[in-house]
Amino acid sequence: MREAWAPLAVLAAFAAAPLIGYSGAYETTLMARAMILGMAAVALAFLVGGAGLVSLGHAACLGVGAYAVAILDAHGVTEAAVVLPAAIGAAALFALATGAVAIRTSGVHFIMITLAFGQMAFFTASSLAAYGGDDGYTLYGRTEVAGTRLLEDRLAFHYLCLAALTLTWASCAMLLASRFGRVLRAARENAQRVEAVGLAPYPFRLIAYAIAGAVGGLAGFLLANATEFVSPATLSWQRSGELLFMVILGGAGRLWGGILGALVFVMLETWLAQQTPHWKLVFGPMLVLAVLFLRGGLAGLVARRG
Protein backbone atom coordinates (compact mmCIF):
# COMPACT_ATOMS: atom_id res chain seq x y z
CA MET A 1 0.00 0.00 0.00
CA ARG A 2 2.92 2.34 -0.63
CA GLU A 3 0.90 3.92 -3.39
CA ALA A 4 -1.39 5.52 -0.84
CA TRP A 5 1.50 7.71 0.29
CA ALA A 6 2.23 9.12 -3.13
CA PRO A 7 -0.70 11.62 -3.29
CA LEU A 8 0.02 12.71 0.29
CA ALA A 9 3.64 13.27 -0.69
CA VAL A 10 2.60 15.53 -3.58
CA LEU A 11 0.23 17.51 -1.33
CA ALA A 12 2.92 17.74 1.37
CA ALA A 13 5.35 19.07 -1.23
CA PHE A 14 2.87 21.86 -2.06
CA ALA A 15 2.49 22.59 1.65
CA ALA A 16 6.23 22.68 2.29
CA ALA A 17 7.25 24.62 -0.82
CA PRO A 18 6.68 28.15 0.59
CA LEU A 19 8.44 27.17 3.86
CA ILE A 20 11.65 26.06 2.14
CA GLY A 21 12.13 29.20 0.09
CA TYR A 22 9.70 28.90 -2.81
CA SER A 23 7.54 31.77 -1.61
CA GLY A 24 8.21 34.41 -4.29
CA ALA A 25 5.43 35.80 -6.47
CA TYR A 26 6.62 33.77 -9.45
CA GLU A 27 6.74 30.41 -7.69
CA THR A 28 3.47 30.82 -5.81
CA THR A 29 1.66 31.95 -8.97
CA LEU A 30 2.85 28.84 -10.77
CA MET A 31 1.94 26.57 -7.88
CA ALA A 32 -1.50 28.17 -7.51
CA ARG A 33 -2.10 27.52 -11.20
CA ALA A 34 -1.00 23.90 -10.83
CA MET A 35 -3.18 23.35 -7.77
CA ILE A 36 -6.26 24.99 -9.31
CA LEU A 37 -5.96 23.08 -12.57
CA GLY A 38 -5.21 20.00 -10.48
CA MET A 39 -8.54 20.45 -8.71
CA ALA A 40 -10.41 20.56 -12.02
CA ALA A 41 -8.37 17.59 -13.25
CA VAL A 42 -9.21 15.54 -10.14
CA ALA A 43 -12.90 16.20 -10.76
CA LEU A 44 -12.45 15.19 -14.38
CA ALA A 45 -10.54 12.05 -13.35
CA PHE A 46 -13.50 11.28 -11.09
CA LEU A 47 -15.75 11.47 -14.17
CA VAL A 48 -13.43 9.72 -16.63
CA GLY A 49 -11.85 7.09 -14.43
CA GLY A 50 -14.74 6.65 -12.02
CA ALA A 51 -17.90 7.04 -14.02
CA GLY A 52 -16.45 6.43 -17.50
CA LEU A 53 -17.80 9.77 -18.73
CA VAL A 54 -15.18 11.34 -21.03
CA SER A 55 -16.16 15.01 -21.03
CA LEU A 56 -14.53 17.30 -23.57
CA GLY A 57 -16.27 20.33 -22.10
CA HIS A 58 -15.02 20.42 -18.54
CA ALA A 59 -13.38 23.82 -18.97
CA ALA A 60 -16.88 25.28 -19.38
CA CYS A 61 -17.60 24.59 -15.68
CA LEU A 62 -14.36 26.35 -14.79
CA GLY A 63 -15.43 29.23 -16.98
CA VAL A 64 -18.91 29.47 -15.48
CA GLY A 65 -17.35 29.70 -12.01
CA ALA A 66 -14.84 32.30 -13.15
CA TYR A 67 -17.49 34.38 -14.93
CA ALA A 68 -19.69 34.28 -11.84
CA VAL A 69 -16.84 36.02 -10.01
CA ALA A 70 -16.40 38.54 -12.84
CA ILE A 71 -20.09 39.36 -13.21
CA LEU A 72 -20.58 39.82 -9.47
CA ASP A 73 -17.40 41.91 -9.37
CA ALA A 74 -18.78 44.18 -12.09
CA HIS A 75 -21.86 44.75 -9.94
CA GLY A 76 -19.77 45.49 -6.86
CA VAL A 77 -20.35 42.19 -5.07
CA THR A 78 -16.99 40.92 -3.83
CA GLU A 79 -17.87 39.16 -0.58
CA ALA A 80 -16.73 35.53 -0.59
CA ALA A 81 -19.81 34.43 1.35
CA VAL A 82 -21.86 35.43 -1.70
CA VAL A 83 -19.39 34.96 -4.55
CA LEU A 84 -18.17 31.46 -3.68
CA PRO A 85 -21.60 29.80 -3.39
CA ALA A 86 -22.70 31.65 -6.52
CA ALA A 87 -19.69 30.38 -8.50
CA ILE A 88 -20.08 26.80 -7.30
CA GLY A 89 -23.86 26.85 -7.66
CA ALA A 90 -23.80 28.32 -11.16
CA ALA A 91 -21.30 25.72 -12.35
CA ALA A 92 -23.24 22.87 -10.74
CA LEU A 93 -26.47 24.09 -12.34
CA PHE A 94 -24.77 24.41 -15.71
CA ALA A 95 -23.45 20.84 -15.38
CA LEU A 96 -26.86 19.59 -14.25
CA ALA A 97 -28.67 21.20 -17.18
CA THR A 98 -26.18 20.15 -19.88
CA GLY A 99 -25.60 16.77 -18.26
CA ALA A 100 -29.31 16.01 -18.32
CA VAL A 101 -29.11 15.99 -22.13
CA ALA A 102 -25.54 14.72 -22.56
CA ILE A 103 -25.82 11.68 -20.31
CA ARG A 104 -28.68 10.35 -22.40
CA THR A 105 -25.99 9.61 -24.99
CA SER A 106 -22.87 7.52 -24.56
CA GLY A 107 -19.44 6.93 -26.01
CA VAL A 108 -18.44 9.20 -28.84
CA HIS A 109 -21.73 11.05 -28.79
CA PHE A 110 -21.08 12.02 -25.20
CA ILE A 111 -17.62 13.38 -26.05
CA MET A 112 -19.05 15.48 -28.84
CA ILE A 113 -22.10 16.76 -27.07
CA THR A 114 -20.02 17.91 -24.10
CA LEU A 115 -17.71 19.59 -26.60
CA ALA A 116 -20.72 21.30 -28.16
CA PHE A 117 -22.03 22.53 -24.80
CA GLY A 118 -18.54 23.79 -24.00
CA GLN A 119 -18.53 25.77 -27.25
CA MET A 120 -21.96 27.13 -26.41
CA ALA A 121 -20.64 28.48 -23.12
CA PHE A 122 -17.56 29.83 -24.91
CA PHE A 123 -19.61 31.81 -27.43
CA THR A 124 -21.90 33.07 -24.72
CA ALA A 125 -18.88 34.36 -22.80
CA SER A 126 -17.46 36.04 -25.92
CA SER A 127 -20.71 37.85 -26.53
CA LEU A 128 -20.96 39.27 -23.00
CA ALA A 129 -19.90 42.75 -24.12
CA ALA A 130 -20.69 44.23 -20.71
CA TYR A 131 -18.08 41.92 -19.18
CA GLY A 132 -15.30 42.40 -21.68
CA GLY A 133 -16.55 40.22 -24.55
CA ASP A 134 -13.65 38.64 -26.45
CA ASP A 135 -11.05 40.71 -24.60
CA GLY A 136 -11.95 39.44 -21.14
CA TYR A 137 -12.61 41.24 -17.91
CA THR A 138 -10.11 42.46 -15.32
CA LEU A 139 -11.38 42.23 -11.74
CA TYR A 140 -11.30 45.33 -9.54
CA GLY A 141 -9.71 43.17 -6.87
CA ARG A 142 -9.71 39.74 -5.35
CA THR A 143 -12.77 38.48 -3.53
CA GLU A 144 -12.97 39.72 0.07
CA VAL A 145 -13.40 37.38 3.01
CA ALA A 146 -15.70 38.93 5.63
CA GLY A 147 -14.64 42.37 4.41
CA THR A 148 -10.90 41.69 4.70
CA ARG A 149 -8.46 41.43 1.82
CA LEU A 150 -7.23 38.04 3.00
CA LEU A 151 -6.91 36.56 -0.50
CA GLU A 152 -4.46 39.31 -1.51
CA ASP A 153 -1.95 37.66 0.83
CA ARG A 154 0.25 35.35 -1.22
CA LEU A 155 0.67 32.67 1.44
CA ALA A 156 -2.96 32.72 2.54
CA PHE A 157 -4.02 32.19 -1.06
CA HIS A 158 -1.48 29.42 -1.52
CA TYR A 159 -2.77 27.49 1.47
CA LEU A 160 -6.38 28.17 0.53
CA CYS A 161 -5.76 26.57 -2.88
CA LEU A 162 -4.00 23.66 -1.18
CA ALA A 163 -6.89 23.18 1.23
CA ALA A 164 -9.40 23.23 -1.61
CA LEU A 165 -7.31 20.76 -3.59
CA THR A 166 -6.94 18.39 -0.65
CA LEU A 167 -10.64 18.64 0.12
CA THR A 168 -11.52 17.93 -3.53
CA TRP A 169 -9.24 14.93 -3.75
CA ALA A 170 -10.34 13.47 -0.40
CA SER A 171 -14.06 13.89 -1.08
CA CYS A 172 -13.84 12.51 -4.61
CA ALA A 173 -11.89 9.51 -3.30
CA MET A 174 -14.44 8.93 -0.54
CA LEU A 175 -17.30 9.27 -3.01
CA LEU A 176 -15.76 6.71 -5.32
CA ALA A 177 -15.28 4.29 -2.44
CA SER A 178 -18.86 4.74 -1.21
CA ARG A 179 -21.93 2.87 -2.39
CA PHE A 180 -22.63 5.74 -4.79
CA GLY A 181 -19.17 5.33 -6.33
CA ARG A 182 -19.59 1.58 -6.50
CA VAL A 183 -22.69 2.01 -8.67
CA LEU A 184 -20.82 4.50 -10.88
CA ARG A 185 -17.92 2.11 -11.36
CA ALA A 186 -20.21 -0.83 -11.97
CA ALA A 187 -22.17 1.16 -14.57
CA ARG A 188 -18.89 2.08 -16.26
CA GLU A 189 -18.02 -1.59 -16.61
CA ASN A 190 -21.45 -2.82 -17.60
CA ALA A 191 -24.50 -0.55 -17.51
CA GLN A 192 -26.87 -3.38 -18.45
CA ARG A 193 -25.95 -5.49 -15.45
CA VAL A 194 -26.45 -2.52 -13.16
CA GLU A 195 -29.90 -2.08 -14.62
CA ALA A 196 -30.53 -5.78 -14.20
CA VAL A 197 -29.93 -5.58 -10.46
CA GLY A 198 -32.47 -2.79 -10.30
CA LEU A 199 -30.47 0.43 -10.42
CA ALA A 200 -30.80 3.07 -13.14
CA PRO A 201 -27.31 4.46 -13.90
CA TYR A 202 -28.71 7.76 -15.24
CA PRO A 203 -29.33 9.62 -11.94
CA PHE A 204 -26.02 8.40 -10.51
CA ARG A 205 -24.13 9.62 -13.54
CA LEU A 206 -25.99 12.92 -13.58
CA ILE A 207 -25.17 13.58 -9.93
CA ALA A 208 -21.53 12.67 -10.55
CA TYR A 209 -21.50 15.08 -13.49
CA ALA A 210 -23.00 17.86 -11.38
CA ILE A 211 -20.47 17.23 -8.59
CA ALA A 212 -17.60 17.46 -11.07
CA GLY A 213 -19.20 20.66 -12.35
CA ALA A 214 -19.37 22.11 -8.84
CA VAL A 215 -15.69 21.35 -8.28
CA GLY A 216 -15.00 23.00 -11.64
CA GLY A 217 -16.87 26.06 -10.36
CA LEU A 218 -14.72 26.14 -7.24
CA ALA A 219 -11.59 25.90 -9.40
CA GLY A 220 -12.96 28.66 -11.61
CA PHE A 221 -13.54 30.88 -8.57
CA LEU A 222 -9.93 30.38 -7.48
CA LEU A 223 -8.59 30.80 -11.02
CA ALA A 224 -10.37 34.13 -11.45
CA ASN A 225 -8.92 35.27 -8.14
CA ALA A 226 -5.44 33.98 -8.94
CA THR A 227 -5.16 35.88 -12.22
CA GLU A 228 -7.65 38.67 -11.36
CA PHE A 229 -8.71 38.32 -14.97
CA VAL A 230 -11.37 36.30 -16.75
CA SER A 231 -11.64 35.77 -20.49
CA PRO A 232 -13.41 33.40 -22.87
CA ALA A 233 -10.05 31.59 -23.25
CA THR A 234 -10.74 30.13 -19.79
CA LEU A 235 -13.46 27.99 -21.32
CA SER A 236 -12.05 27.34 -24.77
CA TRP A 237 -12.22 23.74 -25.92
CA GLN A 238 -8.43 23.61 -26.00
CA ARG A 239 -8.50 24.08 -22.24
CA SER A 240 -10.89 21.13 -21.96
CA GLY A 241 -8.44 19.11 -24.03
CA GLU A 242 -5.58 20.17 -21.78
CA LEU A 243 -7.53 19.10 -18.71
CA LEU A 244 -8.13 15.68 -20.25
CA PHE A 245 -4.42 15.51 -21.03
CA MET A 246 -3.58 16.22 -17.38
CA VAL A 247 -5.84 13.35 -16.36
CA ILE A 248 -4.25 10.95 -18.84
CA LEU A 249 -0.72 12.15 -18.15
CA GLY A 250 -1.24 11.57 -14.45
CA GLY A 251 -3.08 8.30 -14.99
CA ALA A 252 -6.82 8.11 -15.57
CA GLY A 253 -7.34 5.21 -13.18
CA ARG A 254 -6.18 7.21 -10.17
CA LEU A 255 -7.75 10.39 -8.85
CA TRP A 256 -4.48 11.84 -7.64
CA GLY A 257 -3.12 11.35 -11.13
CA GLY A 258 -4.99 14.58 -11.90
CA ILE A 259 -2.92 16.49 -9.34
CA LEU A 260 0.32 15.02 -10.64
CA GLY A 261 -0.71 15.55 -14.25
CA ALA A 262 -1.61 19.21 -13.64
CA LEU A 263 1.67 19.85 -11.82
CA VAL A 264 3.78 18.29 -14.57
CA PHE A 265 1.68 20.00 -17.25
CA VAL A 266 2.13 23.47 -15.73
CA MET A 267 5.86 22.98 -15.20
CA LEU A 268 6.33 21.59 -18.71
CA GLU A 269 4.29 24.36 -20.31
CA THR A 270 6.16 27.07 -18.41
CA TRP A 271 9.58 25.58 -19.09
CA LEU A 272 8.90 24.99 -22.79
CA ALA A 273 7.46 28.49 -23.23
CA GLN A 274 10.71 29.89 -21.84
CA GLN A 275 12.74 27.93 -24.40
CA THR A 276 10.79 28.89 -27.50
CA PRO A 277 7.69 30.88 -28.40
CA HIS A 278 6.69 27.92 -30.57
CA TRP A 279 6.57 25.57 -27.61
CA LYS A 280 3.44 23.86 -28.88
CA LEU A 281 5.55 22.47 -31.70
CA VAL A 282 7.32 20.37 -29.09
CA PHE A 283 4.36 19.96 -26.77
CA GLY A 284 2.01 18.47 -29.38
CA PRO A 285 4.28 15.53 -30.29
CA MET A 286 5.01 15.00 -26.58
CA LEU A 287 1.29 14.64 -26.00
CA VAL A 288 1.02 12.10 -28.82
CA LEU A 289 3.98 10.13 -27.44
CA ALA A 290 2.57 10.23 -23.91
CA VAL A 291 -0.72 8.75 -25.16
CA LEU A 292 1.00 6.10 -27.25
CA PHE A 293 3.57 4.91 -24.76
CA LEU A 294 2.69 6.09 -21.26
CA ARG A 295 -0.25 3.82 -20.51
CA GLY A 296 -1.39 4.14 -16.93
CA GLY A 297 0.18 7.59 -16.76
CA LEU A 298 2.78 8.93 -14.36
CA ALA A 299 0.85 7.71 -11.33
CA GLY A 300 0.98 4.25 -12.88
CA LEU A 301 4.77 4.51 -13.07
CA VAL A 302 4.93 5.53 -9.42
CA ALA A 303 2.62 2.69 -8.43
CA ARG A 304 4.69 0.10 -10.31
CA ARG A 305 7.91 1.29 -8.66
CA GLY A 306 6.32 1.45 -5.24
Binding site: V108, I113, T124, G241, K280, L281, G284, L287
Partner: protein, 307 residues
Amino acid sequence: MTAQLLLVQALNGLQLGILLFLVAAGLTLVFGVMDFINLAHGVQYMLGAYLGAAFAAATGSFWWGLALALPAALAAGLVLEVLVFRHLYARDHLSQVLATFGVILFLNEGVKVVWGAAPLQVPIPPLLDGGIEISPGLQYPIYRVAVLGAGLATAALLWWLVERTRAGMLVRAGATNAPMVAALGVDITRLFTLVFAFGAMLAGFAGVLAGPIFSVEPGMGDHVLILAFVVIVIGGIGSIRGAFLAALLVGLIDTLGKSLMPNLMRLFLDPSSARQAGAALASMLVYVAMAAILAFRPAGLFPVRTG
Protein backbone atom coordinates in the same frame (compact mmCIF):
# COMPACT_ATOMS: atom_id res chain seq x y z
CA MET B 1 -34.50 42.77 -43.61
CA THR B 2 -35.71 42.31 -47.14
CA ALA B 3 -36.46 39.19 -49.13
CA GLN B 4 -33.33 39.86 -51.19
CA LEU B 5 -31.08 39.94 -48.16
CA LEU B 6 -32.71 36.76 -46.96
CA LEU B 7 -31.96 35.14 -50.32
CA VAL B 8 -28.31 36.15 -50.14
CA GLN B 9 -28.01 34.85 -46.59
CA ALA B 10 -29.69 31.59 -47.53
CA LEU B 11 -27.18 31.14 -50.38
CA ASN B 12 -24.31 31.92 -48.01
CA GLY B 13 -25.74 29.39 -45.59
CA LEU B 14 -25.96 26.69 -48.24
CA GLN B 15 -22.40 27.40 -49.28
CA LEU B 16 -21.15 27.13 -45.68
CA GLY B 17 -23.16 23.92 -45.47
CA ILE B 18 -21.44 22.52 -48.57
CA LEU B 19 -17.99 23.29 -47.16
CA LEU B 20 -19.02 21.68 -43.89
CA PHE B 21 -20.21 18.65 -45.80
CA LEU B 22 -16.82 18.22 -47.48
CA VAL B 23 -15.13 18.25 -44.08
CA ALA B 24 -17.80 16.14 -42.38
CA ALA B 25 -17.87 13.50 -45.13
CA GLY B 26 -14.31 12.39 -44.40
CA LEU B 27 -14.90 12.64 -40.69
CA THR B 28 -18.04 10.55 -40.73
CA LEU B 29 -16.47 7.86 -42.94
CA VAL B 30 -13.34 7.59 -40.79
CA PHE B 31 -15.57 7.51 -37.80
CA GLY B 32 -18.09 5.06 -39.17
CA VAL B 33 -15.61 2.63 -40.68
CA MET B 34 -12.80 2.74 -38.13
CA ASP B 35 -14.62 3.90 -35.02
CA PHE B 36 -11.84 6.46 -34.83
CA ILE B 37 -12.49 9.94 -33.48
CA ASN B 38 -10.18 12.30 -35.31
CA LEU B 39 -10.00 15.81 -33.85
CA ALA B 40 -7.17 16.56 -36.27
CA HIS B 41 -9.57 16.53 -39.21
CA GLY B 42 -10.04 20.28 -38.80
CA VAL B 43 -6.34 20.99 -39.17
CA GLN B 44 -6.37 19.00 -42.39
CA TYR B 45 -8.88 21.54 -43.69
CA MET B 46 -6.55 24.31 -42.49
CA LEU B 47 -3.57 22.58 -44.09
CA GLY B 48 -5.48 22.40 -47.38
CA ALA B 49 -6.17 26.12 -47.23
CA TYR B 50 -2.51 26.94 -46.50
CA LEU B 51 -1.20 24.59 -49.18
CA GLY B 52 -3.63 26.05 -51.69
CA ALA B 53 -2.61 29.59 -50.74
CA ALA B 54 1.10 28.77 -50.86
CA PHE B 55 0.98 26.95 -54.20
CA ALA B 56 -1.27 29.65 -55.67
CA ALA B 57 1.19 32.32 -54.58
CA ALA B 58 4.15 30.35 -55.92
CA THR B 59 2.64 29.55 -59.30
CA GLY B 60 0.56 32.71 -59.64
CA SER B 61 -2.54 30.69 -60.45
CA PHE B 62 -5.37 29.57 -58.20
CA TRP B 63 -5.95 26.55 -60.41
CA TRP B 64 -2.37 25.32 -60.12
CA GLY B 65 -2.66 25.91 -56.40
CA LEU B 66 -5.77 23.74 -56.28
CA ALA B 67 -4.22 21.05 -58.49
CA LEU B 68 -1.08 20.85 -56.36
CA ALA B 69 -2.77 21.24 -52.98
CA LEU B 70 -5.05 18.21 -53.43
CA PRO B 71 -2.29 15.59 -53.78
CA ALA B 72 -0.29 17.40 -51.09
CA ALA B 73 -3.26 17.22 -48.70
CA LEU B 74 -3.66 13.55 -49.59
CA ALA B 75 0.01 12.94 -48.86
CA ALA B 76 -0.20 14.81 -45.57
CA GLY B 77 -3.15 12.63 -44.60
CA LEU B 78 -1.20 9.48 -45.46
CA VAL B 79 1.84 10.60 -43.47
CA LEU B 80 -0.30 11.37 -40.43
CA GLU B 81 -2.12 8.06 -40.75
CA VAL B 82 1.08 6.03 -40.88
CA LEU B 83 2.92 8.03 -38.20
CA VAL B 84 0.21 8.53 -35.62
CA PHE B 85 -3.36 7.48 -36.31
CA ARG B 86 -2.69 3.87 -37.31
CA HIS B 87 -1.44 3.16 -33.80
CA LEU B 88 -4.63 4.48 -32.26
CA TYR B 89 -7.35 2.42 -33.98
CA ALA B 90 -7.26 -0.23 -31.29
CA ARG B 91 -7.18 2.27 -28.44
CA ASP B 92 -10.11 3.80 -26.58
CA HIS B 93 -11.76 7.04 -27.67
CA LEU B 94 -10.09 9.01 -24.92
CA SER B 95 -6.62 8.15 -26.23
CA GLN B 96 -7.72 9.00 -29.75
CA VAL B 97 -9.09 12.37 -28.68
CA LEU B 98 -5.88 13.28 -26.87
CA ALA B 99 -3.39 12.09 -29.46
CA THR B 100 -5.22 13.88 -32.27
CA PHE B 101 -5.44 16.95 -30.00
CA GLY B 102 -1.64 16.80 -29.85
CA VAL B 103 -1.54 16.76 -33.65
CA ILE B 104 -3.75 19.88 -33.68
CA LEU B 105 -1.38 21.74 -31.34
CA PHE B 106 1.57 20.75 -33.51
CA LEU B 107 0.06 21.69 -36.86
CA ASN B 108 -1.57 24.94 -35.66
CA GLU B 109 1.85 26.03 -34.39
CA GLY B 110 3.58 24.55 -37.42
CA VAL B 111 1.72 26.71 -39.94
CA LYS B 112 2.50 29.71 -37.72
CA VAL B 113 6.22 28.93 -37.98
CA VAL B 114 6.12 28.36 -41.74
CA TRP B 115 3.65 31.02 -42.89
CA GLY B 116 3.51 33.43 -39.93
CA ALA B 117 0.65 34.22 -37.57
CA ALA B 118 -0.95 36.87 -39.82
CA PRO B 119 -3.88 35.76 -41.98
CA LEU B 120 -3.06 35.08 -45.65
CA GLN B 121 -5.20 36.54 -48.40
CA VAL B 122 -5.98 34.38 -51.38
CA PRO B 123 -7.15 36.32 -54.44
CA ILE B 124 -10.24 35.07 -56.24
CA PRO B 125 -9.25 33.54 -59.61
CA PRO B 126 -9.93 36.04 -62.45
CA LEU B 127 -12.16 33.54 -64.23
CA LEU B 128 -14.59 33.54 -61.30
CA ASP B 129 -14.23 37.18 -60.31
CA GLY B 130 -17.23 39.48 -60.31
CA GLY B 131 -20.88 38.83 -59.67
CA ILE B 132 -23.96 37.53 -61.35
CA GLU B 133 -27.43 38.99 -61.06
CA ILE B 134 -29.60 36.52 -59.19
CA SER B 135 -32.59 38.84 -59.07
CA PRO B 136 -33.11 42.37 -60.47
CA GLY B 137 -30.48 44.66 -58.96
CA LEU B 138 -28.93 41.98 -56.75
CA GLN B 139 -25.39 40.82 -57.46
CA TYR B 140 -24.01 37.63 -55.96
CA PRO B 141 -20.29 36.73 -56.27
CA ILE B 142 -19.63 34.15 -58.98
CA TYR B 143 -16.94 32.53 -56.86
CA ARG B 144 -19.43 31.65 -54.16
CA VAL B 145 -21.78 30.16 -56.74
CA ALA B 146 -18.85 28.15 -58.08
CA VAL B 147 -18.04 26.86 -54.59
CA LEU B 148 -21.66 25.79 -54.23
CA GLY B 149 -21.50 24.02 -57.59
CA ALA B 150 -18.16 22.35 -56.90
CA GLY B 151 -19.40 21.14 -53.54
CA LEU B 152 -22.59 19.71 -54.98
CA ALA B 153 -20.62 18.00 -57.76
CA THR B 154 -18.27 16.49 -55.17
CA ALA B 155 -21.22 15.34 -53.12
CA ALA B 156 -22.68 13.64 -56.19
CA LEU B 157 -19.33 12.03 -56.97
CA LEU B 158 -19.06 10.84 -53.40
CA TRP B 159 -22.56 9.41 -53.52
CA TRP B 160 -21.64 7.51 -56.67
CA LEU B 161 -18.39 6.25 -55.11
CA VAL B 162 -20.03 5.07 -51.94
CA GLU B 163 -23.24 3.67 -53.39
CA ARG B 164 -22.19 2.36 -56.79
CA THR B 165 -18.59 1.14 -56.65
CA ARG B 166 -16.94 -1.88 -55.09
CA ALA B 167 -14.72 0.23 -52.84
CA GLY B 168 -17.80 2.12 -51.71
CA MET B 169 -19.57 -1.12 -50.93
CA LEU B 170 -16.66 -2.18 -48.72
CA VAL B 171 -16.75 1.19 -46.98
CA ARG B 172 -20.47 0.81 -46.29
CA ALA B 173 -19.96 -2.75 -45.12
CA GLY B 174 -17.11 -1.59 -42.90
CA ALA B 175 -19.29 1.09 -41.35
CA THR B 176 -21.91 -1.52 -40.49
CA ASN B 177 -19.63 -4.28 -39.23
CA ALA B 178 -15.87 -3.93 -39.68
CA PRO B 179 -14.79 -7.27 -38.10
CA MET B 180 -17.16 -9.15 -40.41
CA VAL B 181 -15.64 -7.45 -43.47
CA ALA B 182 -12.16 -8.38 -42.26
CA ALA B 183 -13.29 -11.96 -41.68
CA LEU B 184 -14.52 -12.14 -45.29
CA GLY B 185 -10.96 -11.59 -46.49
CA VAL B 186 -10.82 -7.85 -47.12
CA ASP B 187 -7.55 -6.12 -46.21
CA ILE B 188 -9.17 -3.80 -43.72
CA THR B 189 -5.96 -1.93 -42.89
CA ARG B 190 -5.56 -0.87 -46.51
CA LEU B 191 -9.22 0.10 -46.68
CA PHE B 192 -8.76 2.21 -43.53
CA THR B 193 -5.71 3.95 -45.00
CA LEU B 194 -7.54 4.67 -48.26
CA VAL B 195 -10.62 6.03 -46.55
CA PHE B 196 -8.45 8.13 -44.29
CA ALA B 197 -6.37 9.65 -47.06
CA PHE B 198 -9.47 10.32 -49.14
CA GLY B 199 -11.15 12.04 -46.20
CA ALA B 200 -8.06 14.16 -45.64
CA MET B 201 -8.13 15.19 -49.28
CA LEU B 202 -11.81 16.16 -49.12
CA ALA B 203 -11.09 18.32 -46.06
CA GLY B 204 -8.12 19.83 -47.89
CA PHE B 205 -10.34 20.52 -50.91
CA ALA B 206 -12.81 22.35 -48.67
CA GLY B 207 -9.88 24.33 -47.27
CA VAL B 208 -8.66 25.40 -50.72
CA LEU B 209 -12.19 26.44 -51.73
CA ALA B 210 -12.62 28.39 -48.48
CA GLY B 211 -9.31 30.24 -48.96
CA PRO B 212 -10.61 33.17 -51.05
CA ILE B 213 -13.78 33.52 -48.91
CA PHE B 214 -12.49 33.28 -45.36
CA SER B 215 -9.07 34.36 -44.21
CA VAL B 216 -6.44 31.65 -44.07
CA GLU B 217 -5.07 31.67 -40.52
CA PRO B 218 -3.81 29.33 -37.80
CA GLY B 219 -6.69 27.77 -35.89
CA MET B 220 -9.17 28.27 -38.75
CA GLY B 221 -9.82 24.54 -38.68
CA ASP B 222 -10.94 24.39 -35.06
CA HIS B 223 -14.26 26.12 -35.55
CA VAL B 224 -15.00 24.10 -38.67
CA LEU B 225 -14.05 20.89 -36.87
CA ILE B 226 -16.55 21.48 -34.11
CA LEU B 227 -19.31 22.37 -36.57
CA ALA B 228 -18.42 19.24 -38.57
CA PHE B 229 -18.78 17.20 -35.39
CA VAL B 230 -22.20 18.71 -34.84
CA VAL B 231 -23.03 17.79 -38.42
CA ILE B 232 -22.08 14.12 -38.12
CA VAL B 233 -23.73 13.78 -34.75
CA ILE B 234 -26.97 15.25 -36.09
CA GLY B 235 -26.72 13.25 -39.32
CA GLY B 236 -25.91 9.95 -37.67
CA ILE B 237 -22.36 8.70 -37.49
CA GLY B 238 -21.15 6.94 -40.64
CA SER B 239 -23.99 8.18 -42.82
CA ILE B 240 -23.01 10.25 -45.88
CA ARG B 241 -26.63 11.09 -46.61
CA GLY B 242 -27.14 12.20 -43.02
CA ALA B 243 -23.96 14.28 -43.16
CA PHE B 244 -25.14 16.00 -46.34
CA LEU B 245 -28.55 16.98 -45.01
CA ALA B 246 -27.21 17.90 -41.58
CA ALA B 247 -24.41 20.00 -43.11
CA LEU B 248 -26.90 22.06 -45.13
CA LEU B 249 -29.10 22.38 -42.05
CA VAL B 250 -26.22 23.52 -39.84
CA GLY B 251 -24.92 25.92 -42.50
CA LEU B 252 -28.36 27.49 -42.88
CA ILE B 253 -29.05 27.69 -39.14
CA ASP B 254 -25.66 29.25 -38.44
CA THR B 255 -25.73 31.82 -41.24
CA LEU B 256 -29.39 32.78 -41.04
CA GLY B 257 -29.25 32.83 -37.24
CA LYS B 258 -26.35 35.27 -37.28
CA SER B 259 -28.16 37.68 -39.60
CA LEU B 260 -31.71 37.27 -38.32
CA MET B 261 -31.29 36.88 -34.57
CA PRO B 262 -30.17 40.45 -33.75
CA ASN B 263 -33.13 41.79 -35.73
CA LEU B 264 -35.50 39.36 -34.11
CA MET B 265 -34.28 40.37 -30.66
CA ARG B 266 -34.93 44.01 -31.50
CA LEU B 267 -38.64 43.24 -31.19
CA PHE B 268 -38.15 42.62 -27.47
CA LEU B 269 -35.05 44.59 -26.47
CA ASP B 270 -33.36 47.94 -27.05
CA PRO B 271 -30.90 47.99 -30.01
CA SER B 272 -27.60 47.53 -28.14
CA SER B 273 -28.71 44.68 -25.91
CA ALA B 274 -30.58 43.19 -28.88
CA ARG B 275 -27.31 43.05 -30.82
CA GLN B 276 -25.57 41.42 -27.86
CA ALA B 277 -28.27 38.92 -27.03
CA GLY B 278 -28.85 38.19 -30.71
CA ALA B 279 -25.18 37.43 -31.35
CA ALA B 280 -25.03 35.17 -28.30
CA LEU B 281 -28.20 33.32 -29.28
CA ALA B 282 -27.09 32.99 -32.89
CA SER B 283 -23.80 31.30 -31.98
CA MET B 284 -25.67 28.95 -29.68
CA LEU B 285 -28.43 28.09 -32.14
CA VAL B 286 -26.54 25.26 -33.85
CA TYR B 287 -25.75 23.60 -30.54
CA VAL B 288 -29.29 24.02 -29.29
CA ALA B 289 -30.52 22.34 -32.48
CA MET B 290 -28.08 19.50 -31.91
CA ALA B 291 -29.11 19.05 -28.29
CA ALA B 292 -32.77 19.06 -29.31
CA ILE B 293 -32.24 16.47 -32.05
CA LEU B 294 -30.14 14.23 -29.80
CA ALA B 295 -32.69 14.46 -27.01
CA PHE B 296 -35.24 12.83 -29.32
CA ARG B 297 -32.96 10.72 -31.52
CA PRO B 298 -29.80 9.89 -29.55
CA ALA B 299 -28.20 8.19 -32.58
CA GLY B 300 -28.84 11.08 -35.00
CA LEU B 301 -31.22 11.43 -37.92
CA PHE B 302 -29.87 8.59 -40.08
CA PRO B 303 -28.18 6.03 -37.83
CA VAL B 304 -26.07 3.48 -39.71
CA ARG B 305 -25.42 0.94 -37.02
CA THR B 306 -28.47 -0.75 -35.68
CA GLY B 307 -28.31 -1.86 -32.10
